[in-house]
Structures are given as structure tokens and as C-alpha cells.
């Protein structure tokens, strides 16, 4: 009994000493560098690592271009999941005591970080999370310049309103949420689809659905699926069946598997997605700089641009009001920043004014359509 008490006491003492020493060393480091510490949380490994890597590099490029040496970004990995995102946020808020975190990438991770940033009153600024859920639950410290998924339905509804529309959607969360949202937006223009077909994930034969679309005499076919292969097969089989109509798709059309599957049938297909506007010279300069610096092009031009804009907006905010979460939050609501992704301002939910672009397949490439 007595011996156990001694051991317990010794352990506790060790822990206390370690904590005190640890705390001291951090403080010493802080004093010697006196740098402003920003946080970043994103998918640096795992499924979306290529995009996380783009974000990280874009941040570094923007920081280098600004010439600021007094700012340091602490990069943490969200693995694209909630648990890791939450752990990273805990560390940045409580240990590193940052005032602003850029991230997270995947919406799951961002959603998991919200309670921590709200509790710690720290700004969270995402360039990649597009879940419409974040508009509702983001809270006053959350901002994003990546457009929410329901911006895409807004853009699409405006494009195809007052036409005979056939909708073909995938039977999953993304497909049905997008479908219902689109139908609500179309109803605002008094437009009701003439065909509304749903297919299960992994379906490979769409001919019978497309036959119904053909019989509906639709002028427009919108394919709502986050599978590039499904999109490709629908378009290919529609052309084989001789369906002459305008084709619209969601952002999964940007995946190379779409053009691999649809091949020449992809020609003329419209897609609504977040994209880098290559008609803007500044965008091309950034992409060139990226390639020169890292000896390879970005995995996603669009998210590189958004992350680059984000870093510049953050720098601008710090210059204007100092490094304080509340001041930055108030400042972000007032800006109208002329960036590479367009003019960025934020509404009361932290959603930005950036809209997805309309692109069209021309000679196998997606090019922005002038609107």
C-alpha cells in the first residue's frame, strides 16, 4: 500500500515537472522568434492528399510572394476525417494558441472542428469544404471561399430554366440532395422537369432510363452523380441512342474518368463546377509559378487558386486589424477582395460570393463559357 503510494506520487511529480519544463520551452521558443502563428488543417495524406498538397503549396507561394517572414503556418493533417480534424484543431487552438485556422479540406473534418473553434473563438477559413450543411451550422467564426454545393444548383437552374428538362440522378446522399435542391430552385422559375429518373450507384446500363428520357421529348438532360464513370456512361449511351439534347453535369465531370469513359461523346457537354478561370492572366501566372517551383502542375487548378486567394485575404486582414480572431472575423464581413477566383465577399453565414463556373468540353478540354 505504502509502496504503491510512493510510486503514484513519483509519477505525478514527473508529469508535473515535464509539463512545467515543456511549457517553459514553448515560451522560450515564442520569445526568440516572435512569429505570428497561423494554423492549417487539411488532407495532407489519404484520399484527397493531392488537393491538400495543392493547398499547402499555394499557401507557401502566397506567403513567399508577400515577403512576410514574421508569419509562420503550422500544417496539420486531417486525413480527410472528423477524428483527425478534431485532434488537429485541439492542438492548434490549445497548444499553439493560433487565432486563425485555414481548413479543413473535407467537409467531415470541418464539421468536426466547428465545436472546438467556436469554443476557442478562433476563425476557421476553408477553401475546400463545399457541404451545404456548413451554411447552417458554421457559426460566426466560420468562413469559406469554396462555393457551397447548392450554389451549383443555383447556377444550373438559371441556365436551364423554362426548358423541357430531364433529370437523371444517382441514388446516394449527394445525388438526391442535389436533385431536391435543384427541383426547388427550378420551381422558383415555374419549371417542372418532364422526366426524373433515379439510378443506383454502380449502375452500368442506362439505356432503358434514357429511353424514357427520349420519350419525354426533353431538350436538356442534366446528369446528377458524383461518379465520373456513371456520368460518362450516361452521356455515351445517350449519344448511341441518338438523344439530341444539351447535356449538363456536376463537378464529377472534371474527373479524367469521365472523358476516358465518354471519349468523343463528351464533346459539347456542360459542367457546373469550381474551376480556375484561365481567361484571367493572373491565374495563368500563378499556375506557371507553381509548376516552376514544384516541377509539376497542381492536381487541381481551382483549389490551388482558392487557397492562394485565402492566404492573401488572411494577410490583408492581419495587416488591417492585427492578429486577433474577433477583429479578423469582423473585418472579413466587410471586404470585397479582388482575387484570382473573382471578387470575394462574405455573407452572414460565412459563405463567399464566389460562384461555380460553367464549362464546356471543347476538343477534349473543359473551357470556361462566357456568360
Amino acid at each position: 500500500m505504502n509502496k504503491q503510494k510512493h510510486i503514484l506520487l513519483a509519477t505525478m511529480l514527473t508529469v508535473v515537472v515535464a509539463l512545467v519544463l515543456g511549457g517553459c520551452s514553448t515560451k522560450v521558443a515564442n520569445l526568440s522568434q516572435e512569429k505570428i502563428k497561423l494554423g492549417y488543417v487539411g488532407p495532407l495524406t489519404g484520399d484527397l492528399a493531392s488537393i491538400g498538397n495543392d493547398e499547402k503549396r499555394a499557401i507557401q507561394l502566397a506567403l513567399t510572394a508577400s515577403g512576410r517572414t514574421d508569419i509562420e503556418v503550422i500544417f496539420e493533417d486531417s486525413h480527410c476525417n472528423g477524428q483527425a480534424g478534431s485532434n488537429a484543431a485541439q492542438k492548434l487552438v490549445n497548444v499553439d494558441q493560433v487565432q486563425l485556422i485555414m481548413g479543413a479540406g473535407c467537409s467531415d473534418a470541418t464539421l468536426a472542428m466547428l465545436p472546438i473553434i467556436q469554443q476557442g473563438q478562433v476563425v476557421l477559413f476553408s477553401s475546400l469544404s463545399t457541404s451545404p450543411e456548413l451554411t447552417k451550422v458554421g457559426g460566426e467564426y466560420f468562413f469559406r471561399n469554396a462555393p457551397s454545393d447548392d450554389k451549383a444548383t443555383e447556377v444550373l437552374a438559371k441556365l436551364i430554366k423554362n426548358k423541357k428538362i430531364a433529370l437523371v440522378s444517382e441514388n446516394n446522399d449527394f445525388g438526391q440532395a442535389f436533385l431536391n435542391d435543384l427541383k426547388v430552385k427550378l420551381a422558383e422559375f415555374d419549371t417542372t422537369p418532364v422526366a426524373d429518373e433515379i439510378f443506383n450507384t454502380g449502375t452500368t446500363d442506362y439505356k432503358t432510363i434514357l429511353q424514357k428520357v427520349k420519350e419525354s421529348k426533353a431538350e436538356v438532360l442534366a446528369v446528377i452523380s458524383n461518379s465520373p464513370v456513371s456520368n460518362g456512361l450516361v452521356i455515351k449511351q445517350a449519344k448511341e441512342l441518338g438523344l439530341e439534347m444539351a447535356y449538363y453535369g456536376t463537378d464529377s465531370i472534371a474527373g479524367s474518368e469521365f472523358s476516358d469513359t465518354a471519349q468523343d461523346a463528351a464533346e459539347g457537354v456542360y459542367a457546373i463546377l469550381v474551376a480556375a478561370n484561365t481567361a484571367d492572366d493572373r491565374v495563368n501566372k500563378l499556375l506557371q509559378l507553381y509548376e516552376n517551383t514544384y516541377l509539376e502542375g497542381p492536381a487541381s487548378d481551382a483549389y490551388t487558386v482558392l487557397s492562394y486567394d485565402r492566404m492573401n485575404i488572411v494577410l490583408k486582414a492581419i495587416d488591417a486589424v492585427g492578429y486577433d480572431a474577433e477583429a479578423i472575423r469582423n473585418y472579413l464581413h466587410t471586404i470585397n477582395y479582388d482575387g484570382l477566383a473573382g471578387y470575394t465577399s462574405f455573407d452572414e453565414n460565412g459563405d463567399s460570393s464566389i460562384l461555380p463556373l460553367v464549362l464546356r468540353f471543347e476538343d477534349g478540354e473543359l473551357v470556361p463559357v462566357q456568360q
Partner: protein, 293 residues
């Protein structure tokens, strides 16, 4: 309406084609070789790779590349079929494994093959093409049918005819049936059981590549298609009568047509429900299938 029937017949033709080989193997060894679908898909990936190689680096045409790829990959995959029997199923059989154990082993092999395909060729979809432009199909009684689909139909019909003759009119065909009915008795009367099974696995695997490569023309290739195919094959096989060639044709066609009318009248999300509903009905009403004696 007619278009829906045509769609059903074409999809059914694909199911039938791949069910033939499955039934052939069942005839000889009397268990479900579930990895069969993945073997075919692996072969189709080889066809794709060879076609790509010939088209891109050797200056050959897409059709030449496809035919050449089909020939090589069918033979290579046929050999693989033999190896699967020799090194997996035969040792299990020798140790007295039950049919349930054999199915579990073949399911394990299916998973391994799917992962291997993903590892070697990547997870992204691959498409085999016979021409560089997507053309609208021929109009036939108000239905549209493409060249690829006509090809699939012809190959299926010819294969059913040839294999029906093969099983019933040739010595080796009779031997395959004999081994399936009673392998010990067949051995006693002088049938070389091992050899017969090797030949069966070779032919069936050969056929699976043919079917899967044709499927790839229609719906592309993904590593996981092996599982999807084998599920459809089992349904078609049970409807038609497992082990029968005519049964494979009729079962496959019935499944394809039922799926497409189901999709037309109830919506595509109910397609699989129709397919497996049909299976349940057959299991309840006619478990031996249409053509089983």
C-alpha cells in the same frame, strides 16, 4: 417499348455469354466458382492493355489491337484458370473440402483478384473502344442498336450453339458431363478426370475473357465488376437451370429483359430488386431451373 426489349436482350446476351462458362465449370466440378467473374475481368484488362499497346506504340488499328489482345489474353487467362484449379481447388478437394469450403475459397480468390486488378491497372475505369467516334446505332423498327451490341448478340448465339454441341456431341464434352455427374465412376470407366477438368477450366476462362472484353465495349472496366457480374451470373444460371447451356442463354435473356422492363416501369433504382425477386420466385417455384432435367 420495343427499344426496352432490345436493351433487355442485349444485356441478357452479355449475362448469357458469361453464364455459359460458369455453367461449364459447374458441370465438371459441381461447385460455384465465384472468382469466375473476376477472372474474366482480369482477362478483359489484359485485352485493354494489349490493344492500347498495339494502338499507341505499334501503329495498329483499334480493331486489330482488340482482336489480337483478345486472342492473347484469352489464352493467358485460360492458363490462369488451369492454375487456379491446380493450386487452389484441387488441393482443397484432395483434403476433402466440402462444397461450402470451396465456395468460401472461391470468394476469397475473387477478392484477391479484384484487389490485384486494382493494384496492377489502377482503380479508375478503363474503356475498350473499336472506333474513335461514338456513333449513333442503327435504327431498327424504331429501336436503336449499335455495332457493338450486334457483335455481342452474334458472339453469344454462336457460343451457345457451339458449346451445346460440344457438351453433347463430342467425346470431351461427354467426359465433362460424366465427371460432373460422378467423377469416381467416370475415372473407373477410364475418363482422365484431371485432364477433363483442366480442359474445362481452360475453355471456361477463355470464354469469360471473351464475354468480359465485349462487356467492356459497352460499360467500361472497373476492378470491382467481377463481383457484380458473378451475382448476375448466379441468378441467370439458377433461372435457366445450373449446368445447362440452353439454360444459360434463356436465363441470361430473361434476367436482362426483366431488369429492363423493371427499370422502365418501376424506375432504375428497382432494377436489382426485380433481378433478385426473379431469383427468389424461381427458387421457390422451380428450384431446378427451366432446363434442368
Amino acid at each position: 417499348m420495343f427499344q426496352v426489349l432490345v436493351n433487355g436482350i442485349i444485356v441478357g446476351g452479355i449475362y448469357a455469354l458469361i453464364t455459359i462458362g460458369f455453367n461449364l465449370i459447374y458441370s465438371a466440378v459441381r461447385f460455384y466458382h465465384l472468382a469466375y467473374g473476376a477472372v474474366g475481368i482480369l482477362g478483359a484488362y489484359l485485352t485493354y492493355q494489349i490493344q492500347k499497346f498495339i494502338f499507341e506504340t505499334q501503329g495498329g488499328g483499334l480493331i486489330t489491337g482488340f482482336l489480337f489482345g483478345l486472342l492473347i489474353s484469352s489464352i493467358v487467362t485460360g492458363m490462369l484458370g488451369i492454375l487456379i484449379w491446380k493450386f487452389l481447388y484441387r488441393p482443397l478437394r484432395k483434403n476433402g473440402a466440402s462444397n461450402v469450403s470451396m465456395i468460401v475459397a472461391s470468394f476469397g480468390l475473387l477478392i484477391i483478384l479484384q484487389n490485384l486488378i486494382g493494384l496492377i491497372f489502377g482503380q479508375s475505369a478503363k474503356t475498350i473502344r473499336l472506333s474513335e467516334v461514338t456513333t449513333q446505332g442503327y435504327e431498327f423498327l424504331s429501336a436503336s442498336i449499335t455495332k457493338n451490341q450486334i457483335l455481342i448478340l452474334i458472339v453469344t448465339l454462336v457460343s451457345v450453339f457451339v458449346f451445346e454441341l460440344f457438351l453433347h456431341r463430342t467425346k470431351i464434352g461427354t467426359a465433362i458431363r460424366a465427371v460432373g455427374q460422378n467423377s469416381q465412376l467416370a475415372a473407373v470407366v477410364g475418363v482422365k478426370t484431371e485432364k477433363v477438368i483442366y480442359i474445362t477450366f481452360f475453355i471456361a476462362s477463355f470464354l469469360s475473357v471473351l464475354a468480359s472484353s465485349l462487356i467492356a465495349l459497352e460499360i467500361s472496366l472497373k476492378p470491382t465488376y467481377g463481383l457484380m457480374l458473378i451475382l448476375k451470373v448466379i441468378v441467370a444460371s439458377i433461372i435457366g437451370g445450373i449446368g445447362s447451356m440452353r439454360g444459360a442463354l434463356v436465363g441470361g435473356l430473361m434476367l436482362g429483359v426483366a431488369e429492363n422492363f423493371g427499370a422502365y416501369y418501376f424506375g432504375s433504382q428497382w432494377q436489382d430488386t426485380v433481378a433478385f425477386g426473379l431469383l427468389v420466385i424461381f427458387l421457390l417455384v422451380r428450384p431446378q431451373g427451366l432446363f434442368k432435367k
